[in-house]
Every structure is written in C-alpha cells, then in structure tokens.
Symmetry: C2
Subunit: 252 residues, 2 copies
C-alpha cells in the first residue's frame, strides 16, 4: 500500500485542486490517502469531498502554528509549508499501521501533477528512492543527477547544493519500515529554507548512497511541481464588501 500524506488548506482553489488530484488517485490501486487539513477542526467542505471521492482515505487536521503561518501578502517561500500536517500524518501511520505492513510513504502536495507510472515506481522502494521533479528549484527539473545501476550518484540542483538532499518533497518515497525504526524522524518549523526534505531524510539515517534511482535511471519526469494560480476574485471581493456575496449555499 502507498500511504500518501497530503497537507491542504482553505483557499478558493482548494476543492478544484483536491478534485483533480482525486481523479488521478482513482487510477491507483492499493492506495491510502492521508489528507491533513491546516485547520483547527475538520471543515465541512473537505469532509464532504472526501466522503464522496471514492478513495480509501483518512481525514486529519493540524493547524499550523500562527507564528509560522503565511500571511496573504507574504511570498510563499517565507515559511515552511505543511510541517504540522505532515507530522500529524506520520504520527497517524506510526500509531495505526502495523510495522509488518508492506507500505510506502509518499508526500503529495495538493497542487502538484503526478504521472500514473510514478506509483508503480514507488512500490519498488526497498528502503528509499528518488527521482527528478519537473519545474522545481527554478529549473526544468531538480533532484537526482547522474544515476547508474539503480543508484543515485549525484544531485542536480542550482540552489543550496550543499543540502544533503537537494530535492523536492515530491521527489522521494521511503519504505514505511523506516518510520518504525526511526520514530523521531519528522519535520520542524525551525528548519532553514530548503532543508525540510533533508531534515526528514537524515532523520531516517539516510544518505545519498541509500537512494534507489527510479523513473528510468532518473531520466523520466513523472511528477511536476505545478502551482495553481491564486483565484482572481475582484468582483467577488467587491460584493463581499457590500455585504452581498455570491450565493453562500453554492460551494465552489
């Protein structure tokens, strides 16, 4: 089973993003979706969405500490995103899945794009695996560089190459047996920018030498770090100011 942890937060495009991601996941067998809302309590929108999505899922919530919450005007790189949510997902796996279960952990942000072949690759992960992520790190792709015989030999990145794992959250998977072996491994808001992935993977006592190269020796792009444009709500904002928003009974 692939256990995928997806942090998600309320915004105009949330239901759309979750909808198309769920349509991708409906093609994947033996998949368990752990959706963690960045919210004090589970929202009605996500609750209804999940109960109708046709997937096997677990619905959790964990609010980002307000000291680490992005403001609407902040650039999105200012704070780490998804930290509390991913930790909550990891705790759920450690507490609810038996350590003997054959399983794979993958972090799936709600606005990325995933090729179906990726899920087949993830299922071959002995310990930990990696592949390049398209449109990441300001590059065409970022992640494993030179690979040979199924091993990652170097990284390809343009930014902070000194990072132990200069790869995106979407660029690796680990066998869940590691989560039970290293029970402290997780994420922290105190991590410097760009180091979330490295912090987690070094917490699992992994080095580049452990990384299995997937996706055709890391020459195929099977996941893209797409981002959904913030919805332009010029007219709606006016209506809200006038106290006359669009029909609140219609969910978008």
């Amino acid at each position: 089973t692939i256990y995928a942890i997806t942090p998600t937060y309320a915004r105009w495009t949330q239901k759309a993003d979750l909808t198309r991601l769920s349509q991708t996941l409906l093609h994947v067998k033996n998949f368990h979706w752990i959706v963690v809302e960045d919210a004090d309590r589970k929202t009605l929108l996500v609750t209804k969405f999940l109960s109708n999505c046709g997937l096997k899922y677990t619905h959790l919530n964990a609010k980002t500490d307000q000291n680490f919450k992005l403001k609407d005007s902040d650039p999105n790189w200012l704070m780490p995103r998804g930290v509390a949510q991913r930790n909550t997902g990891l705790t759920w796996i450690r507490n609810n899945i038996s350590p003997q279960t054959e399983g794979y952990l993958y972090f799936m942000d709600d606005d990325n794009t995933y090729d179906l072949q990726l899920f087949k690759e993830i299922r071959t992960t002995q310990l930990a695996s990696a592949w390049p992520v398209g449109l990441s790190g300001g590059l065409k792709f970022e992640g494993p560089g030179f690979c040979k015989d199924g091993k990652v030999l170097s990284w390809y990145t343009a930014w902070k190459p000194e990072r132990p794992f200069p790869i995106d959250m979407a660029g690796f998977a680990v066998n869940i047996k590691l989560l039970f072996q290293y029970k402290e491994a997780g994420f922290s808001n105190a991590t410097p920018r760009g180091y979330l992935e490295s912090h987690f993977l070094t917490g699992l006592h992994l080095t580049i030498n452990d990384m299995e190269a997937k996706a055709n020796q890391c020459t195929d792009i099977l996941v893209w770090h797409t981002r959904t444009e913030k919805a332009k709500m010029k007219q709606e904002d006016k209506l809200i100011k006038l106290g006359k928003p669009s029909n609140p009974n219609i969910e978008v």
Copy 2:
C-alpha cells in the same frame, strides 16, 4: 459521444496540464478528445503524449495569427485565446462526423478542472445546455443565475452583463446537430473582449430561452476556471543564457 475541443500551446507547464487533464478524461466513457495545438506543425511532445494517453483522440494544429498572439509580457486578457484552434476543431467535426451521429460538443481548456459528474450532464443536452463555472469572471462562479424546471431564466455575472451569453467557454455544451444546421457558427479574433462565447452561441441561433439548466438547476459547481501558475524558471533561464541548459533529452 462527447466531442471535446482543447486548444493547447507550448509552455513549461503544458505536459503537466495535459497529463492531469487526460487522467480526468480516462474516467469518461464515449469521449473523443480533439486536441488542437497552437503551432505551425504538430510538436513531438504532444504527439508522443497523445499516443500514450489511452484516450480516443484527434490531433490537429492551427497557429494563432501573429497579430493576435499574446506576448509573454501581455496580460492574458489582451487577446482572445484559442480562436483558430477551436475553429479548426469545429471544421474537423463538420467534415468527419456524420450529421446523424448522437454527439455533444464541449470546449475544454487545458488548465481547467472538471468534476466527472459534468460529463453525465452534458450527455443530456437536447439542443444547448449551461451551468455555472467556478472561479470565473472575478466571481465565486459565473453563468446561469435563476433556473427553474430545467430552464435558464437569468444570468449571474458582474462584468458586461449586457452580453447575450455572459458565460465562460467551460459553461455550456451544444448538441452537434446544431453544428450541421448552422455551418458558419464559429469564433473570430475580431470579437470584443468577453464576447467569444456569445458570438459562437448566437451564431447557432440560440437565445437564453433555449438553454437547458444542468448541474442541479445550476446550483452545483462542476467545473472550475483554474489557471496554472507560470513556472518560475529563474535558474534555468540563467543556464540557458550561459548556453548550458538542463539536459535537453529530458522532456518535462
């Protein structure tokens, strides 16, 4: 059969957008995807993508007249988008599908988000049908307003309400018999901003009185006018300037 016309053009996020859209469409039976590239000739990327996507498709191309082509620095509303491509798709249907075929025409932009229920609704279109589009027109949703007994009685929009059809391209479908009845109906680059849909639908001799209300009397949002953020390629642009782009053999 639903005949869906999708204009598409080369950009960093194109393959990602086509990939997730194709994953949506793989859930839809009796579907024929007419993909029209905005290009002088069919590209290798789209050709390979389509031949592997598992859908029934027709691959066409039609380059947007350079006088009407957006520059990278232009705001996207400056020019109509997808005109030549949609016309090419319409011509293909008129020349290749028998007028007796039971079929429905729908325009699907490559970066929108579609709920699977929408395709069931489209298949009940006697003449022409409409439903609201989420995140459109600067509003939470735009399109049909008050509906009753399956008829659209008013429009809901905040911008140019005088338009005959103040709805997005994703907000309507027509029975293909109309295409054979009104052979001139199509799109034009000379259409004023916001009037593409109205021009096409009035060309099919339709008025609001003809519009069948779908999506639960137009109270459910089954399609969202999402937009994919332009990829940030700061590092890649530097490499390109240095004549050392990322491996050109890796397709993104």
